[in-house]
């Protein structure tokens, strides 16, 4: 407004001068030609300036907003701010995460093939800071062109306190680290799981039951824990040969042996980006068709460690599942499954390349499943959550068995 008044004053002054100067010149009949010309040019200059001022004023008037327009703008801003606030401050949040990968594999004795196409969406539904439902599906193309769909986990967690979250449903087994935290393909540095850490091998996969987990800070030391009670696994029994083929340690909603399994893990982080943990589980299990007629002891022991130092990442894990004997079973003898691995990954900064080496060893109950493996790999990280992996597995198992065949793999994995 002040600016506008100033403009008007300038305009009026210029107009007065423009009119007054010629009149003054005409009135003074004694002026010479030179003076007249000078005054004339001054008048012309002032007229030009006046014209410019008038144009500027016209533009200014066009740009000037009214109070009504200002109020409308304010209202619009308030609405936008309200909308911004709405999506930021809702009680419930829905979020989709997950990962996917595509794999090519060429194994000795088998034709090379694009062997994997997988999509694992993870759904998160959070209510305030109180509840979170997390569910992961595993959708995978099968050999025959069909598609398998499995529920990896679905758990509702209640954030009870700063140090405890209680959850129920199907959850990844907290015994060990690989199955719980490292197996997603965008995290795992190699296209395959270590020997013994796959499905129906030494490491329990998941459980259906109740879980409590959380962390504490004690004198600057991070301590985390997980404890659970669940239905427990069942045994795959070959009644003809009288052998236990595998522990199906994947969460199920039946508990035919009428015995629950209890377990957990305790982890410590002694240094930044390090962790050591011990795991256990205990209970009773039975064969798939034997139910509670032939229950036997079931125990799991595990230990794991991880350390990241600058560009070097080290990790290792040991896990053992064992079952006792059961005289009334078709496979009466005790059995055990044991596996361990050690892995080093080094990022060649400032490039995006990373080298990986991993040794793993799996001792199964059936010796034709035993495997010792050296895996070498080179990765290219397009982003922290997207990487191309090229790896070669030197496998050593029973002669002429699948476990003995070396394999070459290429995988592209993306976590989102």
């Amino acid at each position: 407004m002040k600016h506008l008044t100033s403009q008007w004053r300038q305009t009026a002054l210029a107009a007065v001068i423009a009119v007054a100067l010629p009149l003054n010149a005409a009135a003074d009949s004694t002026v010479g030609d030179d003076t007249y010309e000078a005054l004339k040019s001054q008048v012309e200059m002032l007229q030009q300036q006046l014209q410019q001022i008038q144009e500027t004023l016209k533009q200014y008037e066009q740009q000037t907003v009214t109070n009504e327009e200002v109020q409308e703008l304010k209202q619009e801003l308030a609405e936008v701010a309200s909308q911004q606030s709405e999506w930021k401050n809702t009680d419930s949040i829905v979020h989709l995460a997950g990962y996917g990968d595509a794999t090519y594999s060429d194994k000795e004795g088998s034709p090379g093939a694009f062997s994997g196409a997988r999509f694992n969406p993870i759904f998160h539904y959070q209510y305030k800071d109180l509840l979170m439902l997390g569910a992961e599906m595993a959708i995978e193309v099968e050999d025959d062109g069909g598609t398998s769909t499995e529920l990896e986990y679905t758990t509702i967690h209640l954030f009870a306190t700063d140090y405890l979250a209680v959850g129920g449903g199907k959850f990844l087994s907290p015994t060990g680290q690989f199955r719980q935290n490292i197996h997603p393909s965008w995290i795992n540095k190699l296209p395959t799981a270590p020997s013994g850490f796959g499905h129906d091998q030494a490491a329990p996969i998941s459980e259906v039951g109740l879980q409590g987990m959380g962390g504490f800070l004690v004198a600057g030391l991070n301590i985390n824990y997980g404890a659970y009670v669940g239905n427990g696994p069942i045994l795959e029994i070959d009644a003809v040969d009288g052998e236990i083929e595998a522990v199906e340690a994947e969460g199920r909603t039946s508990n035919d042996d009428d015995k629950l399994v209890y377990g957990g893990r305790l982890g410590l982080a002694p240094w930044p980006n390090s962790e050591v943990g011990v795991s256990f589980a205990t209970g009773e299990v039975a064969g798939e068709d034997e139910k509670n007629n032939a229950t036997r002891d079931y125990d799991v022991y595990g230990a794991d460690a991880a350390y990241k130092w600058r560009n070097l990442g080290l990790r290792g894990e040991f896990i053992k599942q064992k079952v006792g004997s059961a005289g009334s079973s078709a496979a009466p003898n005790s059995a055990s499954w044991q596996a361990w691995y050690a892995q080093a990954a080094y990022r060649f900064m400032p490039t995006n390349f990373e080298g990986v080496v991993r040794y793993s060893d799996y001792d199964a109950n059936l010796k034709n499943q035993d495997q010792e493996q050296w895996a070498l790999g080179i990765n290219y990280l397009f982003a922290p959550n997207a990487m191309a992996k090229l790896a070669y597995n030197f496998n050593d198992g029973k002669n002429n068995s699948n476990a003995d065949d070396n394999a070459f793999q290429v995988q592209f994995a993306y976590g989102f």
């Binding site: 539904y125 800071d129 997390g134 009870a160 962390g215 959550n385």
Partner: protein, 206 residues
């Protein structure tokens, strides 16, 4: 022995978990940060930076704060609390850090902003805000963070450029993650940043 252990778990673990859940539902505060009705502490950006830098890479590559919006980071960090065994306070700290650090880089921060500042020394600011990623020795604590002690390292650049990078954030060549504006600490003002730069030169400069 095995049966004894089993009995202990049967007798204690399951009832214990059920009791804890019941207490939580009833809203009885047995810790300061109880989610159901208790007053939770605000997230602390500096502590969050340290927790973020000290925990995430033990499982996976470091994800940049700019990868997600504020609202998306919330369930992501809650999920990571469960996966990483963090406390509720650490969850809120990390969330505060990530939400403070993901502003678009185009939104340039002014040298002469009106932030009151911390009034701390360069050394103190470094040890609170910068040390998580750059390390106490200035050599970088996580992959992709440059070594301040190299003669041809970042400190060989002109101060004006360094101040600009600290204030507005910076992503170096070969690094997959950008340093957030002001290291992710919105409380720093231009004087604080100058104090930090002075400390960097004194401590790590050649």
């Amino acid at each position: 022995m095995r049966h004894a252990i089993s009995n202990i778990f049967s007798g204690l673990v399951l009832p214990g978990l059920v009791a804890m859940a019941a207490v939580a539902w009833s809203g009885v505060a047995f810790s300061e940060g109880l989610s159901t009705g208790g007053v939770m502490s605000e997230g602390d950006v500096n502590r969050g930076a340290t927790t973020w830098a000290n925990n995430c890479t033990r499982c996976h590559e470091m994800r940049s704060p700019t990868e997600f919006r504020d609202d998306i980071w919330k369930p992501v960090v809650a999920h990571m609390r469960l996966r990483g065994g963090l406390t509720g306070e650490q969850q809120r700290d990390v969330l505060a850090f990530l939400q403070a650090s993901n502003s678009p880089r185009a939104a340039q921060v002014s040298f002469e902003d009106s932030t009151p500042g911390t009034g701390l020394s360069g050394k103190d600011i470094y040890s609170q805000t910068c040390v998580a990623c750059h390390g106490a020795n200035g050599k970088g604590a996580i992959p992709g963070v440059p070594d301040f002690t190299r003669p041809t390292g970042p400190l060989s650049k002109p101060d004006e450029e360094l101040l600009h990078n600290i204030i507005n954030g910076y992503q170096g060549p070969g690094s997959q993650m950008a340093m957030p504006a002001k290291g992710g600490n919105p409380e720093l003002n231009a004087a604080d940043v100058r104090a930090v730069l002075e400390y960097l030169h004194e401590s790590f400069g050649q």
